[in-house]
Symmetry: C2
Subunit: 359 residues, 2 copies
């Protein structure tokens, strides 16, 4: 089976082996050492000296944690959205009573930093900016260097959804001054879903101290207090921690530059091969994501049929479109544990399946 | 290693084998079938026709979900607490702005249904009652038949923390009219931590429709909508679902009566053996829990030293006391995948370790 959706991603055998390990005491010495090791590795891979916490929940839980830890009801936030997940981040903030100013860009395009500047200039009351690093639904990666620069000119808090970015793409959290950054275990980290990782800057802690939204499960203060004892406040997803210990060790051995370069290479290969087949990339190629490639479905193509044929006849699983892109695009994930050979197999299956999925 | 804390509990090899399975598409056909199968089994084991949802998070996340889905700020709730976890449930409700009327009972004792009646009579504005089925910190199981009867006399919503109860103890959710009941995967279910299960009654849905607390990640409406498509709203802890599929199948094969009886038997054995050693049970024996036994530490015993000797010299892991019981009790978990032989080994180690942990 070729599982090539943008998460969950396949896990290497050495990861799966420990995911299936017997339980241990989650408040005992060995598990404390695992937490400490993983946290140190995550900090290195986040390129940060900020606090980093491992929360038991999905990436969406991580987004919710950023909202409830940083904001008060009525706070004005600028939501920079370029797809489904950017809109979800905004929806969470709105649900919790934030006053969300939407700055939505056309699907397939990256956010324009100058538009962010304009929006921040137009409304000095904006307290924080929500932004997606890598938008999985459209296969677009935002230019976080330019965006963070724009936000920092106005001295605003910047909360970054990098659920599908970190672990695969370069995101120097401290250098860019990113205040809260959220990642998810089932992406480039090569472990199963179940954990969200968040980094919290000094400025973010100041905002946290003033933020009035109620929080308990996702509370960063509780996470910090427990981490001082090498624990988590609530019983963690022990199995995924086991996997993450092995996976982050392998990632540290490979090195961040190697990881990033590997994703660049395989994404370039994917895009080149897709275009060589006369297919059209959905994303503006200047900002095409190195973790997932979205491909336009022409009018005669049934995406659901394509996915079904690929799965049932060729054991290849790719993603369809989400939200208003349903039926309009299909997506190939190429993040984490993936080789050029894997993508070749996907493309060969695609060659055979495409004619069967056209009217 | 004998891991005998009240969760995480050891998992059978056939469960661990599938916990370490390769990832699949969490929105695909096979995973949908897994969700559907597990949900049906959970309903049978909850003895309910109510909706049952599987949330990705710890038991505490499940408690938080009950609060944010059922209450509005300022709602009066009666908190019936007999230990640390009952107090936690109350703290969550308080954090989210509920007006919590505490009804705390002495640690080691069960809740008195007549006191609940009195409290409900004294304050007709109370909307909901929070109660712990099995209090892990003290090793006490509340009489849910009597308690639910008292609450229903006043027609109040009853939200039940059965995180450590369900899966091991008899709790006929529908027969007792329990509105929201929360369970946790790492207890009698014999799978790793990472999932909370919640049942939601018709009355609870009515309360949910009127409840004004903001919610997103834990929102039962979103869970219900996704479950109609055999999905979860957010990426679930796939590995633990794999394990739960196998474990609940085994539980259904054993049958609820068999599971409950097995826990009765092993708990009786544990208590008898503990007392035969001249040790004192912490819990009122009429209400002693069948999943965990708390034992009083006499003044000369260092619980931390005892746990260390047991772990380092005898590969036995038991639990200490929590909150104000720290240093005052130690606890043996006997839930889920456990045999009399396991408990014998724990007791033999205890016999050797106790003298070494006394001053």
């Amino acid at each position: 089976m070729q599982l090539r959706i943008p998460g969950p991603t396949p896990c290497p055998p050495e990861v799966l082996k420990v995911v299936g390990r017997q339980m241990i005491d989650h408040r005992g010495k060995e598990f404390g050492e695992i937490i400490t090791r993983i946290t140190a590795n995550l900090k290195a891979l986040f390129q940060t000296k900020n606090d980093v916490f491992i929360l038991s929940g999905s990436g969406t839980g991580g987004l919710e944690s950023a909202v409830v830890n940083m904001l008060s009801p009525g706070d004005k936030v600028l939501s920079v959205a370029i797809g489904v997940f950017g809109e979800r981040f905004a929806e969470i903030a709105r649900t919790y009573g934030a006053n969300v100013i939407p700055l939505n860009f056309e699907y397939g395009k990256a956010a324009d930093p100058d538009e962010i500047r304009k929006a921040l200039k137009a409304d000095p009351e904006i307290k924080a900016v929500l932004v997606t690093h890598n938008e999985t639904s459209t296969g677009v990666t935002n230019d976080m260097v330019a965006i963070s620069k724009a936000v920092k000119e106005f001295d605003k808090l910047i909360l970054v959804d990098s659920i599908s970015g970190l672990g695969s793409l370069d995101l120097p959290v401290d250098k860019l001054g990113l205040d809260v950054v959220i990642a998810g275990s089932q992406k480039g980290w090569m472990v199963p879903p179940g954990l969200a990782f968040v980094s919290v800057s000094e400025n973010a802690w100041k905002a946290h101290a003033a933020a009035k939204l109620p929080r308990f499960y996702w509370d960063y203060s509780r996470a910090k207090k427990s981490l001082a004892d090498a624990q988590t406040p609530w019983t963690p997803v022990v199995s995924v921690f086991f996997g993450l210990d092995v996976a982050t060790k392998a990632m540290m051995d490979e090195g961040l530059a190697g990881i990033v370069q590997r994703h660049v290479k395989i994404a370039d290969f994917t895009r080149k091969e897709v275009k060589a087949r006369g297919l059209t990339l959905f994303a503006d190629e200047k900002h095409a994501s190195n973790v997932v490639t979205a491909i336009k479905a022409d009018e005669k193509l049934s995406v659901s049929k394509l996915r079904q044929v690929l799965r049932d006849e060729y054991q290849v699983v790719i993603a369809g479109g989400q939200g208003k892109l349903k039926g309009k695009v299909f997506r190939i994930g190429h993040l984490g544990w993936v080789s050029e050979q894997d993508i070749k197999e996907v493309l060969q299956a695609l060659d055979k399946a495409l004619p069967k999925a056209r009217e």
